[in-house]
Every structure is written in structure tokens, then in C-alpha cells.
């Protein structure tokens, strides 16, 4: 019935499912709190800076699609865009966006229009500020860099899915002396963001930020559920190591099953 070597995995999957459901039910009952994330806390400051300087805010969720493997970071980027859009509408600050993929473009326009509606400023919503470039990586990059150079924004958001172009965009942001907030799940690009941007959200930290800013209890609950699995992992790891130091292999062997 069971496959040797996969039993521990099966138990983990079932536990994870239970934990996610548990997290969901908690999150649906009452709002959950999240550990403060500097990059997220800086969002208001960043928008305020643009308002004070009278310069635009630039936002890119990346060139990727909202379907497939690039979906989670792109969607997190769009969730954050909705929030930034509301702040921009509230403070009457221009928000310029570039999007690379047709599907993402459709969602981004829908989301931003909604942000302006919520703030009661639908008349100020200008679809011309959302640029659809190309889903070809470097064509998108060239267009985005050109826009950053022309607009000289006070604040640059590079929050979504980014690959090799990350360094090019981050450098363009630094060259215009703008405050930059970045976030992606692509680990190979995070160091470049980290070195060149003012704030960087790292991997899952960015996904969690996107979930919390969306106010969607299903997403938040699932973050909580995953936290429980991680805690379980940490406990198994530490306990196992301590026991192994004293020659006891119980936990180590359990994980072999």
C-alpha cells in the first residue's frame, strides 16, 4: 500500500493540507497580523516622497504572465500595485506602470481602475500611464529603462517576476537617484536587487507581503498554514540534531521512512 521512502512525505502533505485549512479558518474568522517587513513599511514613505517632490512613481510587476510558474510573484506584484495605486490616487501623484504580458496588462488595468474608484477619483485614472511593452525579456527591458530615464521618477517599484534584466532595471533606478523598492521570488536576482535597491523583499517574504496587502483571507490563511509546517520542520531539525549528537537516531530514521 505505502511506498517505502515516501511515507514521511505523505504524512507531511496531509499535515500541510490540514494546516492550510486551519490557517484559512483562522484568517476568515478574524484578521491576522504579519511580522513587519521593512520593504512594505517603506511603501507609504515612498509614495509620500514622490508627492513631496512632485515627481511620478514608477511601478513594474515584471514582464511575465499571470499563469504558469511566474504566476505567484506576478500576482503578488499586482496585489501590491493595487495598494500603491490607491495611495497614488489619494495623494494625486502620477503612477506610471510598465507591463510585459498581455494577460498581466489586462489584470493591471482592471486593478488600477478599481484602486482609483475606491478612492473616489476615477476621473483621474489615465490608462495611458500603463504601458504595454512586450513579453520578450530584453525588449521589455529596453522600453522600461527608457521610460525610467525619461520620467525620472521619485520612487521605483520593481516588485514582481524578474530574471536577468533585474540588474539593468535596478541600475536605471539608481542612476535617476530614485528611492527603490524591489521584491521577487527569483533567488538568483535578489542579490543584485539587494545591492542596488533601498529595500528588497526576499522570496517568500514578498509573496507573504502580497498576500497581506491583498486582504484576501484565503491567501493570508495559507501563509499561516505554511508557517505551521515550517515550525514543525524547525523542531524536527533541532531536536533531531541534538538527539543525534547523543547517538539517538529516532527522528533521523523517521524521516527515512
Amino acid at each position: 500500500m505505502f511506498v517505502a521512502g515516501r511515507v514521511a512525505g505523505l504524512v507531511t502533505v496531509l499535515a500541510a493540507f490540514a494546516f492550510v485549512l486551519l490557517g484559512l479558518s483562522f484568517a476568515r474568522k478574524r484578521p491576522m497580523r504579519m511580522r513587519p517587513i521593512p520593504g512594505l513599511l517603506a511603501v507609504e514613505e515612498a509614495v509620500g516622497r514622490a508627492t513631496e517632490m512632485g515627481k511620478p512613481i514608477f511601478y513594474s510587476p515584471g514582464y511575465a504572465d499571470v499563469a504558469g510558474t511566474t504566476a505567484p510573484p506576478t500576482l503578488a506584484g499586482l496585489n501590491l500595485l493595487a495598494h500603491v495605486g490607491r495611495l497614488a490616487a489619494r495623494y494625486n501623484t502620477r503612477l506610471v506602470v510598465t507591463v510585459g504580458h498581455a494577460n498581466t496588462y489586462a489584470l493591471a488595468t482592471e486593478i488600477l481602475r478599481n484602486s482609483y474608484i475606491v478612492e473616489g477619483k476615477v476621473d483621474q485614472f489615465d490608462i495611458g500611464n500603463i504601458y504595454f511593452t512586450s513579453d520578450v525579456q530584453f525588449a521589455y527591458t529596453a522600453a522600461t529603462v527608457g521610460l525610467i530615464q525619461r520620467e525620472k521618477p521619485a520612487t521605483v517599484f520593481l516588485t514582481g517576476y524578474f530574471a536577468a534584466e533585474a540588474i539593468v532595471l535596478a541600475e536605471a533606478a539608481a542612476a535617476t537617484q530614485s528611492l527603490s523598492i524591489s521584491g521577487t521570488t527569483n533567488y538568483f536576482q535578489i542579490p543584485f536587487f539587494m545591492a542596488a535597491c533601498d529595500y528588497t523583499m526576499i522570496g517568500e517574504e514578498f509573496l507573504a507581503a502580497g498576500a497581506f496587502i491583498s486582504n484576501n483571507p484565503d491567501l493570508i490563511g495559507s501563509v499561516a498554514g505554511q508557517d505551521y509546517v515550517k515550525i514543525l520542520g524547525i523542531l524536527a531539525l533541532l531536536l533531531g540534531a541534538v538527539m543525534k549528537s547523543f547517538g539517538n537516531n529516532v527522528i533521523f530514521d523517521l524521516l527515512k521512512r
Binding site: 504558469g68 529596453a142 542579490p191
Partner: protein, 202 residues
């Protein structure tokens, strides 16, 4: 200089590509579009080959009619271009691909990455390096816990996690720079060895 037309064309395209660094220009934009077109066409050819091998062949030569199911599903991907009211049918093949992807990565991520990486991290704490490896893994995990109420233990974990992650990202930073330099060296070989023989061949 080389007499090979492949070397000539690729070197000239390379130089036009690099001309962007000097100034964005019309030629650069032209080769950019050329690239997008060729890449998309190339991908279509590969997809076509797959479909011929996996659908047309089995259907006509072996009479395997079951391959029609995925073929129809594949066709439905293009529904939004054909009919507005039936565009939603695109969701069916998308549901299939996404579910396969999710299930395949879920089932092996838990065994090979979650359990498979927890187990080798359980090592006797008998050397400084072993302690760093085990504790480092634990605090890195702490950094990615977001919803648990802050307590002193978790705070120490998160703070420690930050440092381990920074050094880890530093390693990725160095490796990333190395890789980019290699790629540029590759282009220099093309232009200054294969095309204009400035670099001696080994």
C-alpha cells in the same frame, strides 16, 4: 578574416546588439524585432515537431485515437482567438497543465526537498561548522515565518536568519557576476577570434 557567412552574420548582429550600449538606435530596434520573430518561429517549429511525433504519427500509423483528447485540449487553448463566447474553454487545457505541474512539483518537493533536505541537516553538533549548518538552516527558516506572534526566540531566529541569508545572497552575487563575465567573454571570442582573428586559437 573568416570566410564563413555564419560568422559574418552573427558577428555583425552582435555588434548591432552591443550598439545599444552606446545609444539606442533604429538598427538595434530592427535586430531586436528580428530576434523576437525568429525565436517565436523557432518555438513554433519545435512545437509542430512535437505534435507531429506525438499526435499525428500515433493517430495515422498506429490508430491510437486516445491522442485526440489532448490534441483537442491543445486546440482549445486558441479558443479566445476564435470565439468570444467560447473563449472560456481555454480554461480546460490550462487546468490540465497547471494541475499536472502543481502535482508533479508538490509530490516531489515534499519528498526530495522538504524531507530530503531536512534529513541531511540533522547532523551531530560536534564541530563549529556543523553547528553553523544546522542552526543556520533553522534560523533561515525562522526568517520565513510571518504570522506567528513575535516572541524572543523567534526574534533571535529572524535576526540570525537575516545574516545567514545575506551571506548566502552574497555567494549568489559573486557567482552571478562570474557568470555574466563568462557570457561576455563568449561574445568576445566570436567577434575577436572567429571573425577578426585578434585572439589566437588554442
Amino acid at each position: 578574416m573568416s570566410a564563413d557567412p555564419v560568422i559574418w552574420v552573427s558577428s555583425i548582429l552582435t555588434i548591432i546588439g552591443f550598439s545599444y550600449l552606446f545609444k539606442e538606435n533604429e538598427l538595434y530596434r530592427a535586430v531586436e524585432h528580428l530576434y523576437v520573430g525568429v525565436a517565436a518561429g523557432y518555438t513554433v517549429v519545435m512545437g509542430y515537431t512535437n505534435v507531429v511525433n506525438k499526435v499525428w504519427g500515433p493517430l495515422t500509423k498506429k490508430g491510437q485515437y486516445t491522442v485526440l483528447i489532448p490534441a483537442v485540449l491543445g486546440f482549445l487553448l486558441f479558443m479566445p482567438y476564435i470565439s468570444k463566447s467560447l473563449g472560456w474553454l481555454r480554461r480546460l487545457p490550462v487546468a490540465v497543465i497547471v494541475a499536472i505541474g502543481a502535482a508533479l512539483s508538490l509530490r516531489t518537493a515534499v519528498v526530495e526537498q522538504f524531507i530530503g533536505q531536512l534529513r541531511p541537516a540533522i547532523i551531530p553538533l560536534n564541530s563549529i561548522n556543523n553547528v553553523i549548518i544546522t542552526l543556520g538552516t533553522a534560523v533561515t527558516l525562522c526568517y520565513f515565518i510571518f504570522t506567528v506572534k513575535p516572541n524572543p526566540v523567534l526574534k533571535v531566529g529572524v535576526e540570525g536568519g537575516k545574516w545567514v541569508i545575506m551571506v548566502t545572497l552574497g555567494a549568489a552575487f559573486g557567482a552571478g557576476i562570474m557568470g555574466r563575465i563568462s557570457l561576455l567573454i563568449g561574445r568576445l571570442f566570436l567577434v575577436f577570434q572567429d571573425w577578426i582573428p585578434l585572439i589566437k586559437k588554442v
